[in-house]
Amino acid sequence: MVGKVRPPPELVREWEREDEEFRELRRRSADWKFIEEQEPRVRLALIAYIETGDRYLAARLAGLTLGEFDELRVKAGVVCAT
């Protein structure tokens, strides 16, 4: 059994600030009309991406590969942030 390697609390606080900055950027960039017009599974995946920034999670939810989901992300106008 391998032990967990945990990040220090000050780094976690920095990540939380970063997550909020990125989430806001994704929300503001999104074409919400386009998102609302999508079928439920795709809509859910795009919203999950906007809220979490996790491309793999969103791709899985949409039933797509990472590359296919990224095409969708661009159509929905959602920026990727790092």
Binding site: K4, P7, L11, R55, L66, G67, D70, E71, C80, T82
Partner: protein
């Protein structure tokens, strides 16, 4: 010239950049795992990867059993931490390759960047996002940048093409490094 290893997120985003071909001028070889290639579907990403493979710049990495064990250990250590997103197998494999070879890891995966910030073993890996790659293009005079404004225009060009944004803090740090380099 350096060695690089590119993950799916990086290749997908960089392939949208109008000046994407410049990447090949920075690296002697860029390793890629076959599971990363399997994630590429967009015409721009497939076309870009195919061109690099044909030129011998992008090379399939010969994955080993020892590396698979290292991946499993890393996955067990960090993959379930909810504060670190996107820690999926293809991109973790790239982190292992970068660790094993000393290659620069090219990634836009926030989770991978976070692991490198604190992991006692993997923090020795050098990771670049597109922002650091753009910086390197300046330092190696592969992009004509004579002022901070030129650099910001280059970054803006990438952001527009890739539908990408960089954190304010990281962008300010990069601008400061470029400013110092221009004033040398």
């Amino acid at each position: 010239m350096m060695l690089g290893v590119a993950d799916s997120c990086f290749l997908i985003d960089w392939a949208r950049f109008g000046r994407r071909e410049l990447l090949a001028n920075l690296f002697e070889a860029i390793f890629v795992h076959e599971e990363v290639l399997a994630q590429l579907r967009s015409p721009s990403a497939v076309d870009f990867a195919s061109r690099l493979l044909a030129r011998g710049v992008l090379r399939l990495y010969p994955w080993s059993l020892a590396e698979e064990e290292l991946y499993l250990r890393l996955r067990d250590e960090v993959a379930l931490d909810p504060r670190i997103p996107s820690l999926e197998r293809p991109d973790l494999l790239c982190l292992v390759i970068a660790y094993e070879t000393g290659a620069v890891l090219l990634t836009e995966n926030l989770g991978i960047l976070r692991v490198i910030q604190f992991h006692p073993t993997f923090s020795r890996v050098t990771a670049w996002t597109a922002l650091e790659v753009l910086e390197q293009l300046v330092y190696r005079e592969l992009a004509e940048v004579r002022s901070v404004g030129d650099f910001l225009n280059l970054v803006a060009e990438y952001c527009e093409d890739a539908k990408h944004v960089f954190s304010r803090k990281r962008l300010e740090e990069a601008v400061e490094r470029v400013r110092r380099w221009l004033a040398r």
